[in-house]
């Protein structure tokens, strides 16, 4: 239905993208927050151990006989070894002279804080290190002196821990994203569902179903459904108006024609002169021709209209043909034409009964019209593979050429149609109907001796078949 319509994107895709996009943004945010939080925590832990180590060294600083003495406790350095296997550096300085440790350990910029540990991330011997610096003022021989203790540790263990933390945070973020994306798709799907259901309910309707849409819909869709219903109503009114118009027009045209025809018949009975009689006959023929043409044009218009949106019902081709034969029998009898039928029970086919009936009626009309008096017409229904074949075999002499396309072209008439009333739309209608049902119409010369009763020796004729595929 939407084939060929320009689209301005898909609501579902847009909604999905927006929701998934938000989920991605939130997941990244979560990742960053978790990562920075855990990184802080891990840093703080590490720092407090470094500080504890430095503090315990600082506690062992004493002034003995006018000199600063440090006795580094074992635990001060071993506690760092417990955290990771990273290398540990330290330096103890008094004012500007290094008392012990690594003299080339970089010093932080600026003055060491007093009382408060100071933490720095620095480079030493090609490695990144975390260093704590602690300063304490001592009184030495009446002079004030600063003892500065630095303890540092390389950060490989911390980096490994950080990588682990990053991985965990990434997994958490990704998991969150996956769940959110799944929920987003589900939400988009379910919010679009009423629209899809409405579309399906409307497109599932038969071509004749012009009732308003009554199913409950979300309130946002009410304006759409209201205008759709208004549109359906307008269509219904205009369709019924044009149907009424056609019926009325046909009535207005055909009733006076019927009057003229009847009067002409009466007059023909009364007049004696041959030339008057000939012109009256001509008049009646012209009336018949115009009314038949009008009928077939209406039929053709209806066929075109109905094949556009084909109705699908179960059609019993045999029963339908039988009913038509009963209806046409009185006309056939006027020409002493015998209608034979062989219509066994066959599976139903799926299609528009009115169209199929119209097609068969046109073929039977043709056969009766063109067949010579006291001839036979046979109607045979056969199931051939996956096809139902309805054949109408007459003794009308056959079509001059077997060219189905030429014979079923609009207003084309066979060469044997000379002197017979008709508009040449019968075969066209039949062909259009059968092709709309996915079948085909074939025309072949009829074989001489097949089929049931041939009262008189069989004459040449044609066999017109409608082949319908079975559903």
């Amino acid at each position: 239905m939407s084939r060929g319509l320009p689209t301005s994107g898909s609501i579902r895709r847009r909604l999905t993208l927006q929701l998934v996009g938000s989920a991605a943004f939130l997941a990244s945010l979560l990742f960053v927050i978790v990562l920075s939080f855990t990184r802080d925590v891990s840093q703080q832990t590490h720092d407090s151990i470094l500080a504890a180590s430095a503090t315990s060294i600082m506690d062992s600083v004493s002034v003995r006989s006018g000199e600063v003495s440090v006795d580094i406790p074992y635990a001060a350095l071993s506690m760092l070894g417990n955290v990771s296997n990273d290398r540990v550096f330290y330096r103890i300085a008094q004012d500007d002279s290094v008392l012990t440790g690594y003299a080339d350990l970089p010093l932080p910029d600026g003055a060491p804080p007093r009382g408060q540990p100071r933490f720095d991330t620095l480079h030493y011997k090609g490695d990144s290190i975390r260093m704590v610096t602690l300063a304490r003022r001592v009184s030495l021989n009446g002079q004030v002196s600063d003892v500065v203790i630095s303890v540092a540790q390389t950060r490989e263990g911390q980096a490994a821990q950080l990588a682990e933390l990053t991985r965990n945070a990434l997994q958490l973020g990704l998991g969150f994203f996956m769940i959110a994306a799944f929920l987003a798709i589900w939400a988009a799907q379910s919010s679009i569902r009423p629209l899809a259901e409405l579309a399906e309910a409307v497109s599932r309707r038969g071509p004749k179903d012009l009732r308003p849409v009554r199913r409950p819909v979300p309130s946002e869709m009410i304006p759409l459904v209201t205008s759709l219903n208004r549109f359906i109503e307008r269509l219904r009114v205009s369709l019924s108006r044009s149907e009424d118009f056609i019926a009325e027009a046909a009535h207005r045209v055909r009733t006076p024609l019927a009057t003229v025809r009847t009067q002409a018949e009466i007059t023909l009975r009364r007049v004696e002169r041959d030339e008057n009689r000939a012109s009256l006959r001509e008049m009646i023929r012209a009336i018949d021709e115009s009314s038949r043409a009008a009928g077939q044009l209406l039929d053709h218009a209806m066929v075109t209209f109905r094949t556009d949106s084909l109705l699908r019902e179960e059609v019993d081709l045999g029963a339908l043909s039988r009913e038509l034969l009963n209806r046409l029998r009185p006309i056939a009898e006027l020409k002493d034409i015998a209608l034979h039928s062989d219509l066994p029970q066959t599976p139903p086919l799926s299609g528009d009964p009115i169209l199929i009936q119209n097609a068969v009626r046109n073929l039977l009309d043709n056969a009766i019209k063109y067949a010579p008096p006291e001839s036979d017409i046979q109607v045979i229904l056969r199931k051939e593979g996956a096809e139902l074949r309805l054949s109408i075999i007459d003794e009308a002499g056959g079509f001059p050429s077997g060219d189905t396309d030429a014979l079923t072209a609009r207003f084309a008439r066979g060469a044997n149609a000379e002197g017979t009333i008709g508009s040449g739309l019968g075969l066209t209608i039949a062909r259009e109907v059968v092709e709309a049902h996915g079948g085909r119409l074939t025309i072949a010369p009829s074989q001489a001796t097949s089929g049931p009763p041939a009262a008189s020796p069989r004459r040449e004729g044609s066999c017109v078949s409608l082949c319908f595929p079975m559903s």
Partner: protein
């Protein structure tokens, strides 16, 4: 036969009435449904010819009402609409047949005959002429013990003769009444059918004689 014609177009109704009377039928004409109801309530008809579009309603309503009050008179609907769309509604409502305007009277006749045959009417319509008993409904001819089935054209030809014994019918008149206007037939075609009728009538006291230059006449021998 007695017809009730329900048709609002007066000129068409008059023409149909004339035409039916020509064949010796009795016709009552109702221009609308209320008159049709009155007629149908007071007289017995062999057949009702019913138009669909009537000034005071739809012919189908009359049909429904007719069937509801157990009316058994067969109804043939005269429709001006497309055959297909009307067909279903009309036959479902209990019409016996329908015919589209403008119609050929021989087709109407044939349809009436078929409908009456289905309704089992007929014995009252038997016609006797000399030693011949003719049943136009069944299409049979009885001469003494012998029963002959007639073909449609033979039957109609015999009907023409038997309805007007001793009258001379020209070949061209017989062609008009026997063949449809669609068919181009020479007047000599009549000779074939007259020949067949003569063969069927052999052994009875009825004969068809040729009146040179004028036509044919059926009379008692």
């Amino acid at each position: 036969m007695r017809f009730l014609l329900v048709e609002d177009n007066l000129s068409l109704a008059a023409a149909v009435e004339d035409r039916l009377r020509m064949d010796g039928h009795v016709v009552d004409h109702a221009p609308d449904i209320s008159v049709a109801d009155d007629y149908a309530a007071t007289a017995d008809y062999d057949l009702i010819l019913l138009d669909i579009m009537l000034p005071d309603g739809d012919g189908r309503d009359f049909l429904k009402a007719h069937r509801n009050r157990q009316g058994t008179t067969p109804v043939i609907v005269l429709t001006a609409r497309s055959e297909v769309s009307d067909r279903v509604g009309v036959l479902d409502l209990g019409a016996d047949d329908y015919i589209t305007k403008p119609f050929d009277f021989s087709e109407l006749e044939a349809r009436c005959r078929a409908v009456l045959r289905r309704h089992g009417g007929g014995s009252s319509n038997q016609k006797r002429f000399g030693s011949v008993v003719f049943d136009p409904m069944a299409g049979t001819l009885n001469i003494g013990e012998k029963t002959v089935s007639l073909r449609n054209k033979e039957l109609r030809l015999l009907e023409i003769f038997i309805n007007a014994p001793d009258r001379i019918f020209s070949k061209s008149k017989l062609v008009d009444r026997l063949f449809s206007y669609e068919e181009d037939v020479s007047e000599n075609a009549i000779e074939v059918y007259v020949g067949r009728l003569r063969k069927h009538l052999a052994g009875s006291d009825v004969e068809i004689t040729t009146v040179r230059g004028l036509g044919y006449r059926m009379s008692l021998a």
